[in-house]
């Protein structure tokens, strides 16, 4: 077997092992290219392709190795699983990254790894790959690297100076679930590197004020991911956790990954369980409301209704329960109020603010601004006029009208994956980028 064939086989095994990681974004870093060197980074992120599951492909997402010392129940790479194993040489992976990058296949590298030997040994190999890319090839593209919990602090620091984004996967939404399914990991073990990265970024911000050319530590911030549906936590618990992570750990993104049964275990859902894609989708919608629309987790869900409504998107669901907030007069309402109207997004809210300075807005005009009247018309007035004649203070009536069409009624877990296409976060990212307004 020649070496090229070898790289091909490794690529197949190690991308297959990495594909369950949701994050593939290349956003939040703006770095112009350097004359004569390879690469740049665009703050909006760039999707280079879309996989058969509709997810954006932006980075070459691979593991350094899938040989693992751990035995986490939910994980395909656990030690006791019989699966083909492979390991990239740092040089080999750096070469592959650059070859793909030159052909504009990718925006950069997403490097994760199973724990090979010890966390430190694993980290050193990853560090070597990044070192070759950044310091030998002067590669200025995007690099997202996974922090390996339990690795030495100085190694983490060095990785952070070469990478654009770092992430530590929180894996499961509670400590109990962790104990049950990933006994070698613990909440402390995961939150420690997370807080170190946060502190590193904070410290770096001070350095950057003092020295313009101070090396930048994780300029793209950190993200995390948790698996949804493998354990019994409700949506409220999950959203509260996310909210905490955004506030306390200044995370840029929390990713949710619908659990896909890959291994049979008595602690896990059966192998023929469908991944809860609709639930994942609703969580992403709610997550968006937390980050860009000024909602809090407690506003969206309460102890009485601890789960998101599968039939209604979370914003509609909130609006229906709060008739006292509506209708909103589009010609006068402040930005924050507009944002809370179903059918008005960040982009159209900004357009409304802008356009109403020049002229009074009517329903026809709103359509031109991109407002979805199908939803918004029940919640707004234009110059005091309301378009619909329905009882908008009757939650049940409204909920019935606004319900997502095409979803089966009353099903316990309605699975219409096509629904995802409308609001997939990658699309939102693209919109965000094009308008440059966020």
């Amino acid at each position: 077997m020649n070496t090229q064939m070898d790289t091909m086989e490794k690529l197949r095994i190690l991308s297959d092992a990495a594909k369950y990681d949701a994050a593939c974004t290349s956003s939040d870093v703006n770095r112009a290219g350097v004359k004569g060197q390879l690469g740049s980074a665009a703050a909006c992120g760039i999707c280079h392709s879309f996989a058969s599951d509709g997810r954006c492909i932006s980075l070459l997402k691979v593991l350094m190795t899938n040989i693992c010392a751990y035995d986490c129940t939910y994980c395909l790479n656990r030690r006791s699983n019989d699966t083909p194993r492979a390991t990239f040489r740092p040089q080999e992976l750096a070469d592959l990254t650059v070859s793909f990058y030159r052909r504009n296949y990718i925006e950069g590298l997403f490097l994760s790894s199973a724990v090979f030997g010890s966390p430190d040994i694993t980290c050193e190999r990853m560090l070597e790959t990044l070192h070759i890319l950044r310091n030998e090839y002067h590669f200025n593209g995007y690099i997202h690297v996974k922090a390996i919990p339990g690795a030495d602090e100085t190694l983490l620091q060095q990785l952070g100076l070469l990478a654009d984004r770092m992430s530590v996967n929180i894996e499961l939404p509670s400590n109990d679930s962790l104990k049950r399914l990933a006994p070698q990991k613990s909440k402390e073990n995961i939150l420690l590197p997370m807080s170190r990265i946060r502190d590193g970024i904070k410290e770096n911000a001070h350095d950057l004020i003092r020295y313009k050319n101070a090396p930048r530590f994780v300029p793209g911030g950190q993200s995390t991911q948790m698996i949804i549906g493998a354990t019994p936590e409700n949506d409220r618990r999950i959203l509260q956790l996310s909210e905490g992570l955004y506030h306390k750990y200044s995370l840029k993104r929390v990713f949710y990954s619908a659990y896909i049964p890959v291994v049979q275990d008595r602690n896990l859902p059966a192998l023929d369980t469908a991944p809860p894609l609709l639930r994942e989708h609703r969580l992403y919608q709610a997550d968006w409301l937390l980050r860009f629309y000024g909602f809090t987790a407690d506003e969206l869900l309460s102890e009485k209704t601890p789960d998101l409504d599968p039939m209604l998107d979370p914003k509609c669901s909130w609006a229906v329960r709060h008739p006292e907030e509506f209708p909103v007069e589009v010609n006068r309402a402040p930005y924050e109020k507009l944002l809370r109207v179903p059918g008005i997004g960040v982009v159209s809210a900004k357009r409304i603010i802008r356009a109403r300075r020049q002229a009074k807005l009517d329903h026809e005009g709103l359509k031109k601004l991109g407002v979805v009247l199908k939803r918004a018309s029940y919640f707004i007035t234009c110059n005091g006029k309301m378009q619909c004649r329905l009882r908008t203070d009757e939650p049940a009536v409204l909920a019935g009208i606004l319900r997502d069409r095409g979803l089966p009624q009353g099903g316990i877990q309605p699975e219409i994956p096509e629904q995802l296409s409308l609001f997939n976060p990658t699309k939102e990212d693209a919109v965000k980028c094009l308008t440059g307004q966020l």
């Binding site: 991308s15 760039i46 392709s49 058969s52 509709g54």
Partner: protein, 252 residues
């Protein structure tokens, strides 16, 4: 302004040519029923049409008036609108300018005005398509040169050029727009735009097919079968892009 005479303009298809048409329209106090680039004008309907000579001095007078009267944003919008595939873009741009001279700097904010709405939407389409090409464009190596071919609806090449020049400043590369027969050449740090009917590809580098195969392998592996969603994929990556993409060609 009198609209009584039915008159048509045709011009050389350049931005300066268009600005000369705008000058003519104002100087003669007439609103043309059509403004057509000469290569698109149907010879039979050129009866009574005026050919507007590109006059750089007139064009310049119009050009400087735009930011002065209606702001930088309007200038930017108009320059981009010229790259779009909007039907009758010249007339739409003229309408926009008429409004701009009348109402001044607020013109871009009048998003519900038809003249502004049309041009804004067209530019949004251009920018969306340009953004998609930042990702979907694929280079292949021929000798030491990277070559990519695109088939956009809008003339995106001038919009995406700065991105690729910045990112691949150490490489020699060419991007050929097959729709608009326009090539971007970047060699030894110098940029050039050329009109070309077609391009002749030099022989491929021997390694090329290997990297293509590896990229296809990666692509086919990374999708999760349990989450397969063709509609979602097509929404984000419409099929018209597929035949120029290494990993999608065999799936068209």
């Amino acid at each position: 302004m009198s609209d009584r005479t039915i008159v048509m303009y045709y011009y050389d298809g350049t931005y300066n040519g268009f600005l000369s048409c705008v000058f003519e329209s104002f100087a003669e106090k007439e609103t043309p029923a059509a403004i057509l680039p000469v290569d698109e004008a149907d010879q039979t309907c050129l009866f009574g049409a005026k050919y507007i000579e590109t006059d750089l001095r007139r064009a310049e007078r119009v050009r400087v008036s735009i930011p002065k009267k209606m702001g930088m944003e309007a200038q930017d919008l108009l320059e981009r609108a010229f790259f779009t595939c909007m039907p009758e873009k010249e007339l739409r741009m003229l309408e926009f300018m008429r409004l701009g001279y009348k109402v001044g700097r607020g013109v871009c904010g009048r998003l519900t005005e038809p003249a502004v709405d049309k041009i804004t939407k067209a530019v949004q389409f251009l920018e969306r398509e340009a953004h998609l090409y930042l990702g979907f464009l694929r280079f292949a190596e021929y000798g030491d040169v990277l070559i990519a071919q695109i088939e956009p609806k809008n003339s995106v090449l001038p919009v995406i050029a700065p991105h690729f020049i910045n990112r691949f400043s150490g490489e020699d590369f060419m991007i050929f727009d097959r729709t608009h027969k326009l090539a971007l050449l970047y060699k030894d740090g110098a940029t050039e735009f050329l009109q070309a009917e077609h391009i002749e590809l030099p022989p491929e580098s021997p390694e090329e097919e290997k990297f293509r195969a590896m990229w296809r392998t990666f692509y086919d592996t990374v999708g999760i079968e349990g989450r397969r969603n063709d509609l979602c994929r097509r929404t984000h990556m419409p099929k018209r892009y597929w035949n120029r993409m290494t990993e999608m060609r065999d799936k068209v």
